[in-house]
C-alpha cells in the first residue's frame, strides 16, 4: 500500500513539522547531485524501463533534459515509478522534484493540490480502443459496454461525462494501475479500453494480439500533458518551464543534437541567445549559460525527442498532429528566449 504509506507520511510530517520546505528545490537538487523524477513505469513511449533496466520515453527524456541543464549529465536522474494514485502525494511530500508522468493540466489540480504545471509538452486527448471482433466503428455505439479504465485519472471522469452527455449507459471496471486495466481488457473482461490517445497506441503494443484491436476515431477530451512541480518554488518552476521552451525553440531554429556544437558559432542572434553565446539567460535561471546547449546535446530538440520516443522512429508511430510546431499547423509555440 505505497499510497497509504506516503499519505500517512505526509500526515505525520505536516502534523508535526512547523514548516514545509519550499523555494529550495534547485539548490536541493544541486546539493544532492541528482534529480528525482516521478515517472510512469508502465507507459510505452512515455516512461518505461527497457528490458535492460534503462528508462526510456518522452517524459523520461524531459527529466534527462533538466538533469543535463543542471549537471551536464543526462544520467544524473533517479526515476521513481508512480501510479496515478500516489503521483500527487509523492510530489507534495517532496519524494520527487518534478512529476513528468503524462499528467493532465486541469484547474482543480492547479489550484487544489499545491502544485504548479510548467508547460504543456504534449497535447493529447482521450480515446477508446475496442476489440475488432465487436465490429464497432464509433464510440457512440458503445451503449451498455464495459470499459476498463484506470482509477483516479481525468480519464475516469471524462468517460462518465461522455457517456452521460450522449445518453449511453456505462459499465465501468476500474483498476489501480494501467497494467491491470489493460490485462483485464485483453482477457475479455471489458469491451473497450480508454486512456489518453497516446497511451492507447503504446498499450496496444503490449496486448497479446495487437492487430485484433482498433482505436476508435473519437477524441472525447482535451488532455494537455504537462510536467508538474510544487507550488511556491518559482525558481524551480522557471527551470522546468524553460527547459521545455528551449527544446521547442531549438526545433524552430533548426538546432539539433548533431549540429548543436557548430551552431554555437552561428551568426543568427536567436540561436546565439539560445545557446548562450550571448546574454546571461542561463545564469538568470540559476544554471550555466550553456544550459540549452547541454539539453540539446543530451536529448535533442523537441521534434527529435518526439520522433524517437512516440513518433515515426518508435513502434507507436504517432503523428505530430497537435504537437507540431505552430509554424506547421500545430500548437507547440516556443516562448522567446530574450
Amino acid at each position: 500500500m505505497n499510497r497509504l504509506a506516503t499519505a500517512f507520511a505526509i500526515a505525520t510530517v505536516l502534523g508535526f513539522a512547523t514548516q514545509v520546505a519550499s523555494a529550495q528545490t534547485l539548490k536541493a537538487v544541486k546539493d544532492r547531485g541528482g534529480l528525482l523524477c516521478g515517472a510512469n513505469g508502465q507507459l510505452a513511449g512515455f516512461g518505461m524501463p527497457d528490458p535492460q533496466g534503462n528508462w526510456t520515453g518522452f517524459d523520461v527524456d524531459f527529466c534527462r533534459a533538466i538533469a543535463a541543464a543542471i549537471f551536464d549529465d543526462p544520467s544524473k536522474v533517479k526515476f521513481v515509478p508512480l501510479t496515478a494514485a500516489n503521483r500527487f502525494t509523492a510530489l507534495q511530500s517532496g519524494e520527487v522534484d518534478v512529476l513528468s508522468r503524462n499528467t493532465t493540466w486541469t484547474m482543480s489540480r492547479d489550484t487544489q493540490l499545491g502544485i504548479d504545471f510548467a508547460a504543456v509538452n504534449y497535447y493529447d486527448g482521450q480515446g477508446f480502443m475496442v476489440h475488432k471482433a465487436l465490429k464497432v466503428a464509433s464510440a457512440l455505439e458503445l451503449n451498455d459496454a464495459s470499459v476498463c479504465v484506470q482509477q483516479g485519472t481525468t480519464t475516469e471522469l471524462n468517460l462518465a461525462d461522455y457517456f452521460r452527455s450522449n445518453h449511453m449507459s456505462l459499465k465501468p471496471v476500474t483498476f489501480a494501475t494501467l497494467d491491470e486495466a489493460l490485462k483485464a481488457y485483453d482477457s475479455g473482461r471489458c469491451d473497450a479500453f480508454t486512456t489518453d490517445s497516446s497511451g492507447l497506441y503504446g498499450s496496444r503494443l503490449l496486448l497479446s494480439n495487437p492487430s485484433d484491436n482498433i482505436v476508435l476515431p473519437e477524441i472525447i477530451s482535451k488532455e494537455p500533458l504537462s510536467p508538474a512541480v510544487r507550488q511556491g518554488d518559482d525558481a524551480w518552476q522557471d527551470v522546468v518551464r524553460w527547459t521545455h521552451q528551449a527544446m521547442v525553440n531549438a526545433e524552430e531554429l533548426g538546432v539539433n543534437k548533431a549540429n548543436v556544437d557548430e551552431q554555437k558559432s552561428s551568426t543568427n542572434p536567436e540561436i546565439r541567445r539560445l545557446l548562450g553565446a550571448e546574454g546571461q539567460f542561463g545564469e538568470s535561471l540559476g544554471l550555466t549559460n550553456d544550459w540549452a546547449a547541454r539539453i540539446i546535446k543530451a536529448v535533442g530538440n523537441y521534434g527529435e525527442s518526439f520522433e524517437r520516443n512516440v513518433g515515426q522512429g518508435s513502434p507507436l508511430k504517432i503523428t505530430r498532429g497537435l504537437n507540431a510546431l505552430w509554424t506547421k499547423g500545430g500548437l507547440q509555440y516556443g516562448l522567446p528566449i530574450r
Partner: protein, 397 residues
C-alpha cells in the same frame, strides 16, 4: 473439580480490592488531556501547513459532485448527481457486503476443516491438514489474483455464455440471475416470515423448558421448519404471488436486466473465505483440543454417539477458547477486504481512498476518514464478539 480449567474472565480477587480513588482519576484525566491535546495540535498544525502549501483542506469536498461511475452499487448512485459522500457510502456498503458474507462462509468452512483435521479418518485428517498448511502460507494478494484470473480465464466470454436454468447466464463478466421484483403485497410475506421465525424460536424455548421439567422430548426441527417456510408460503399464495422476475437478456455488449454478481466480488469472496477459513480451522482445532479428554470419555460412558458428543459436549466448551482468536480472524478478514483494489472491486478503499482521493487531492482527510471507518467497523465487530463470548463462558459453580 481441580482439573476444570479456570475460565472466569473476571480479574483476580486482589486487584478488585484496589478500586478507584481520586489520585488515579486525576492522573488518568491528565493523561487523556495530554493525548487529546497532542492530537488536536497535530490536526491544527496539519491544517495550517496544508493552507500554506495551497493544498485544499477541510471536508467541503463531501458535497461535491463525484463525476465517476462505480461498477457495483447497492444504493442508488449516478455519476452526474451523486456526491463524493454518496460514493463513500457505496464503497462502505460494498466492503460490508463482502466482509459480512465472507465472515459467514469462512466460519462455516473453517469449522468444518478444523473438526475434519481431528477426524479419526486418516485421509480426511491429512487432506484438511494439507489445506490448512498450503493456504496459510500463500500471501492473500496472490490468492486473490489467482481466483480472479482463474475465474476470468476459466469462464467463457459474453458471446459463449453458459446458459443456466431459469434464464441465468454465467460468463467472465459475472453471474447474471433473474432479478426478483417485489410487488407491494410482498410485505405481508416478509411479516409472515418474521412471525414464523419468532414462533419457531418461541417453540424451541418452550420445548426445552418442557423437557427440563418433564423429561419428554418434543420435536423441534420439523415444526420450526414448517412454521418458518410453510406459513410465509401460504401467505404468498393467498396474496396472489406478488413476485415476478426480471430476466437477464443479452444486449450487444452486455447483459441487461437481471441481478448481476461481478466476478471481482466472487473472486474476492472466495479468496477471503478460503484464506480466513484456514486460520479459523486452526483456531477451532485449538479450541476442541482444549476441552479436557475427561469430558469426551464421560460422554462416551453415557452412551452418546460421536456426532452428539461433538455437538452437545465438545463444541460448547470449546467455544470459550475459540471466541477471542476468532474475533481476530474476523477483524483480519474485514481489513483484508481492502485488497479489493488489486482486482477492481469497488470497496471503500478503492472508491474512497482511491478515486475520491485522487480527484480531490485531499489525502489527509480521506485517509483519516478511511482509517476511522475501519477502526469503527473493527470495534463494533469485536464488541459484538465479546458480548457473545460472555454467553459461552463457563460459569463457575
Amino acid at each position: 473439580m481441580s482439573d476444570v480449567a479456570r475460565a472466569s474472565p473476571r480479574l483476580p480477587p486482589h486487584r478488585e480490592r484496589r478500586g478507584l480513588n481520586a489520585g488515579r482519576l486525576v492522573l488518568q484525566a491528565a493523561l487523556l488531556a495530554v493525548v487529546a491535546g497532542l492530537i488536536g495540535a497535530a490536526g491544527y498544525n496539519a491544517a495550517q501547513n496544508l493552507a500554506k502549501a495551497h493544498i485544499a483542506h477541510g471536508f467541503g469536498f463531501w458535497n461535491n459532485t463525484a463525476g465517476f461511475d462505480i461498477s457495483q452499487t447497492l444504493i442508488a448512485y449516478s455519476s452526474s448527481t451523486s456526491t463524493f459522500g454518496h460514493a463513500f457510502w457505496v464503497g462502505l456498503l460494498n466492503t460490508l457486503l463482502v466482509a459480512g458474507v465472507g465472515i459467514v462462509l469462512a466460519t462455516i468452512l473453517g469449522f468444518v476443516i478444523g473438526i475434519a483435521r481431528l477426524s479419526r479418518n486418516w485421509l480426511v485428517a491429512r487432506l484438511a491438514g494439507g489445506y490448512v498448511e498450503v493456504i496459510r502460507n500463500i500471501p492473500l494478494l496472490l490468492q486473490i489474483l489467482f481466483w480472479y484470473n482463474a475465474v476470468l480465464k476459466g469462464l467463457p466470454e459474453m458471446r459463449g455464455s453458459i446458459a443456466l436454468p431459469f434464464g441465468g447466464f454465467l460468463n467472465n463478466r459475472g453471474l447474471f440471475l433473474p432479478k426478483p421484483v417485489f410487488a407491494p403485497d410482498f410485505d405481508a410475506v416478509v411479516i409472515a416470515f418474521a412471525v414464523g421465525v419468532i414462533a419457531a424460536i418461541g417453540w424451541r424455548i418452550w420445548a426445552k423448558r418442557y423437557q427440563a421439567r418433564t423429561g419428554a422430548q418434543m420435536p423441534i426441527v420439523l415444526p420450526a421448519l414448517a412454521v418458518i417456510f410453510v406459513l410465509p408460503f401460504a401467505v404468498f399464495v393467498v396474496a396472489g404471488k406478488p413476485l415476478t422476475f426480471g430476466i437477464p437478456d443479452m444486449g450487444r455488449f452486455n447483459i441487461r436486466g437481471g441481478l448481476e454478481i461481478l466476478p471481482e466480488f466472487a473472486a474476492l469472496l472466495f479468496a477471503l473465505t478460503v484464506y480466513t477459513a484456514a486460520f479459523i480451522a486452526e483456531v477451532v482445532r485449538a479450541g476442541v483440543l482444549a476441552v479436557p479428554a475427561g469430558q469426551i470419555e464421560a460422554a462416551q460412558a453415557l452412551g452418546l454417539r460421536a456426532g452428539t458428543t461433538l455437538r452437545l459436549v465438545v463444541v460448547p466448551q470449546a467455544m470459550r477458547v475459540i471466541v477471542p482468536p476468532l474475533t481476530s480472524q474476523y477483524l483480519n478478514l474485514i481489513k483484508n477486504s481492502s485488497l479489493a483494489v488489486a482486482i477492481g472491486y469497488p470497496d471503500l478503499v478503492q472508491v474512497f481512498a482511491g478515486s475520491v482521493l485522487n480527484i480531490t487531492g485531499q489525502a489527509v482527510e480521506v485517509i483519516a476518514i478511511t482509517m476511522a471507518v475501519y477502526l469503527g467497523i473493527s470495534l463494533v465487530t469485536s464488541l459484538l464478539m465479546n458480548l457473545y463470548g460472555r454467553t459461552v463462558v463457563v460459569v463457575e459453580r
